[in-house]
């Protein structure tokens, strides 16, 4: 009895502090959610995410600051590894994950088909553009980024830098470029498919002649380029380049005129979630304007939220020519993408 009273008192204090503090992500009044009480009893939410690690830990921390009674267990790895984890766990009948967030929209088609997703529409997403919403209401785009070309400003002048995707086929870049892997990263799987639409598989066959260094995560080509290990990255999440640039690393972004592959990274609650209420609370939280604004400001991501504003030094999504692929096609051609990539690049 007394414990409950204390809990209530703590909740009231938190609400008051949050209201008085009146700023930051804590602004969303925790009591507003119908899931809060049940979520508190569950005590935590397990989040498999492909968001770059420091950003994922930041989102978790913001949630925990707003809801101190609920912990977020972050497990970050590449999109394809997440799918592998989830399916391997299910094959051993392990039900561990509450919220799945990857950058391969095709995963959600597959998971939905296998009835592994729970229907849930987070508050406020009805205003999001169509590309961010599943028509059946299972998954929604949490964040978006584009693939671009990146170069090291100490090694390459702006005039010399590649401007178009096909400039990367120039033999002068032989041994000087880096790519991430579609067998690890959903951002890259999406990128490869979009460029196959644009230039066909021949583009990648020719690209491989330039002997690229192969890394795994879509966040890694940009770190490789800023370290100077390679001077040009042929793909990668533009948001990680934006963060590196902000921190003073010698990296510059080129948005090719033919278009940049748009990657919308969905999030969904699993049908077997061990903490379903905490999962709903968490999902609501990550779609609030405040949190979406954080992603735009400090992480350099795009979002579907219409009220979010973007840093002045970033191009508006509307100003870029976007190359899009459908989740259905991504799902269908996943094996083909990986197979051809390995065939051309060797590993």
């Amino acid at each position: 009895m007394s414990r409950r009273t204390t809990g209530l008192a703590v909740a009231i204090v938190i609400v008051l502090v949050a209201a008085l503090a009146g700023g930051g992500a804590a602004q969303t009044a925790p009591t507003a959610s119908p899931h809060l009480e049940a979520a508190k009893k569950e005590g935590k939410v397990v989040w498999y995410t492909s968001l770059v690690l420091p950003s994922a830990e930041k989102v978790a921390k913001l949630f925990e600051t707003t809801y101190p009674d609920i912990k977020v267990e972050v497990h970050r790895t590449g999109s394809q590894r997440i799918l592998q984890r989830v399916m391997q766990e299910l094959s051993a009948n392990i039900k561990n994950v509450d919220v799945i967030h990857t950058s391969d929209a095709g995963h959600y088609v597959l998971l939905k088909e296998k009835k592994l997703l729970a229907k849930y529409t987070p508050a406020g997403v009805e205003k999001f553009p169509a590309g961010f919403k599943d028509k059946d209401g299972y998954y929604y785009g949490l964040r978006a980024t584009v693939n671009a070309i990146f170069y090291n400003t100490k090694a390459v002048t702006a005039a010399d830098a590649p401007k178009r995707w096909k400039d990367l086929l120039d033999p002068k870049w032989k041994g000087k470029m880096v790519t991430a892997h579609p067998g690890y990263s959903g951002v890259i799987a999406t990128h490869v498919l979009a460029l196959v639409h644009l230039h066909g598989w021949d583009y990648f066959k020719a690209l491989a002649q330039n002997k690229l260094m192969i890394v795994q995560s879509a966040n890694d080509p940009t770190t490789v380029v800023s370290s100077g290990e390679r001077v040009v990255a042929v793909d990668g999440g533009e948001y990680s380049a934006y963060q590196l640039k902000k921190k003073g690393n010698p990296i510059e972004i080129v948005y090719p005129k033919e278009g940049v592959p748009l990657v919308v990274s969905p999030t969904a609650i699993t049908a077997f979630a061990p903490h379903p209420n905490a999962a709903r609370l968490f999902t609501d939280f990550i779609f609030t304007r405040e949190l979406q604004q954080v992603m735009a400001d400090s992480e350099g991501l795009y979002t579907g939220h219409p009220e979010v504003t973007y840093p002045a030094d970033k191009p508006k999504l509307n100003d870029l020519k976007l190359l899009t692929v459908t989740p259905e096609e991504l799902e269908k051609r996943n094996d083909e993408i990986k197979k051809h990539f390995v065939e051309f690049f060797g590993a």
Partner: protein
């Protein structure tokens, strides 16, 4: 008789859980198709050009690692065992450090040292010579051979140094008296006597290289080539091709068994008669003016295994940008605060690793102590088999064991995947031979006559065990405990297939971070791992009163 039943019952159960079930499932799955038994998986695995290439790469890698390890290990062993090269203790200490360094950490450090463009050594080279081409490119087959070799040559070193320490010089002296020149002595006397040790060191090095996962994953994948281990691992990507992975595991298993058989032959055929005695004198060969150059050469080799990699790890741990000089602007403690306070997986991984290491080491040490005692004192019928079974897992490479365990324990009746227990089983199996070898040599060294004397004086077996055997065996068993502990904290090749997000261990977290390119956090965790390892090594040395590599102080 009833005692035999208990021991054999326990051993049989352990054998089934640790070996028979995983390997049985592995064999079954490799030939299972939708319509009963089939060889289709083998055809698919070995017909695939990509997989054939991986097979070939592994052979090339293993062969060259064997040769380079001999080329490094044998001269070093000769120098420290037979000559008056200065600072022999230091050199032995450095070889030991290389022996216990997790190879994947070394590979990771060498990415920072010899990445063709940003690598610290290449940057230095360019600024010194204004050359355009890099001095070294670590993302190549030779680079991979080099990095694997500098952490594998201690196997050759140990074999050769311990043999040299046992061979008396009198045969060599006799030859010299009969008029043979120095070279002739080396060729006709010394070389034939250490040849079995050399060959068996070569085979051990080849086996290490065959089974390694971390270094190829870090160095070969960026260069666009696979080895067997990385290929097996990637077959688990969704949609998993477990059957093919099982089929692909078998050549690795067979190669290991075959090579070990050859090693046994080589060691068994000759050598021991001359090598066994402790009577003769071992003369130290004066190097004269070559003393200091020889020391320099040793230190140069060891710096590639120890000083440079450790240094660059330490630098990266404190740097914002690892490729830039460690200036005031580039200095940060942020990697430490991120790793320990912001990155949620760190704490769990360290706790899991320590829990597993302590548990495996305790149960493993108890098991090997019991088994080797039973075998050495011939307490049960068929005691010869006990040793054979305890050493048997040595033929199972980590990745193969993991594939077997994964298949066996993701399905009823025993679903262990997702718990720490599956990792525990993997580690216990994998470390059993090392622990058993250590415990076995301990009990061999305790003469049975001390126990018989106690018997004669009327003490019961338990009392003798408590008052005579246990005190004498204690330090050897502590050493076995430590070997198992060190083996567990550095294990990657089995863990990488068996972990779940709940049951991550440090090596897996480091590998995860590597795939994302988080160099700072990897360096911090790598340093933690090294500190743990060397702490335990210090305990072994204290317990044994000698260094781990085998020679008395």
């Amino acid at each position: 008789m009833d005692r035999s039943i208990a021991v054999w019952g326990g051993a049989a159960l352990a054998l089934v859980v640790l070996m028979a079930l995983p390997l049985g499932w592995l064999a079954w799955l490799s030939v299972s198709g939708e319509h009963g038994a089939t060889l289709a998986n083998y055809r698919e695995a070995f017909g695939d050009p990509a997989l054939q290439k991986a097979l070939w790469n592994t052979l090339v890698l293993a062969f060259w690692v064997g040769l380079v390890s001999v080329a490094i290990g044998a001269p070093l062993a000769w120098l420290t065992a037979r000559t008056d090269v200065p600072a022999r203790g230091l050199i032995r200490g450095l070889v030991l450090a290389s022996f216990v360094t997790p190879p994947f950490l070394g590979a990771f450090a060498w990415v920072m040292l010899a990445g063709p463009n940003a690598g610290v050594l290449n940057t230095l080279w360019r600024s010194l010579t204004s050359a355009d081409a890099p001095l070294l490119n670590i993302f190549t087959m030779p680079g991979l051979v080099f990095v694997v070799s500098i952490y594998t040559f201690p196997y050759v070193y140990i074999m050769v140094a311990n043999t040299l320490a046992l061979i008396a010089s009198d045969l060599e002296e006799a030859a010299a008296i009969l008029g043979a020149g120095r070279l002739a002595v080396a060729r006709t006397i010394t070389l034939p006597m250490v040849l079995p040790a050399l060959a068996s060191g070569f085979i051990l090095a080849v086996l290490q290289a065959l089974a390694l996962f971390g270094s190829p994953a870090i160095l070969a994948l960026p260069a666009g080539f696979h080895t067997i281990t990385t290929q097996i691992w990637s077959l688990f990507q969704f949609p998993p091709k477990t059957e093919q992975a099982a089929a692909f595991s078998f050549p690795l298993l067979l190669a290991t068994a075959l090579l070990l058989q050859i090693q046994k032959r080589v060691l068994g055929r000759r050598g021991f008669a001359a090598v066994g005695g402790k009577g003769g004198q071992r003369r130290t060969i004066p190097l004269g003016p070559w003393r200091w150059p020889a020391l320099l050469a040793c230190l140069a080799i060891m710096s590639t295994a120890i000083f440079l990699p450790y240094g660059v790890l330490a630098k990266a741990a404190f740097a914002r940008a690892w490729a830039q000089p460690l200036t005031r602007e580039n200095f940060t403690l942020g990697n430490f605060t991120f790793t320990f306070f912001e990155y949620g997986s760190t704490r769990d991984a360290i706790v899991n690793t320590l829990e597993l290491a302590v548990l495996t080491a305790c149960i493993g040490a108890a098991m090997v102590a019991l088994l080797s005692y039973v075998a050495n004192r011939r307490l049960v019928v068929g005691h010869q088999l006990v040793g054979f079974l305890a050493l048997a897992p040595v033929v199972v490479p980590g990745v193969v064991l993991a594939v077997g365990l994964f298949i066996a324990y993701t399905r009823p009746p025993f679903v262990l995947y997702g718990t720490l227990w599956i990792l525990f089983l993997a580690y216990l199996t994998k470390e059993m031979p090392v622990g058993y070898a250590q415990a076995d040599s301990t009990f061999r060294a305790i003469p049975a006559d001390l126990e018989d004397a106690g018997r004669v004086l009327g003490a019961g077996r338990l009392r003798i065990l408590r008052e005579i055997t246990a005190p004498l065996a204690k330090s050897g068993i502590i050493a076995a405990w430590c070997f198992i502990f060190i083996g567990v904290i550095r294990e990657l090749s089995a863990s990488i297939l068996l972990f779940t997000p709940r049951t991550k261990v440090m090596s897996v977290v480091i590998f995860d971070l590597k795939e994302e390119g988080q160099f700072g956090a990897i360096s911090v965790l790598g340093l933690v791992m090294l500190v743990l390892t060397f702490g335990v090594v210090a305990v072994v040395q204290a317990a044994l009163g000698r260094d781990v590599l085998g020679a008395r102080r």
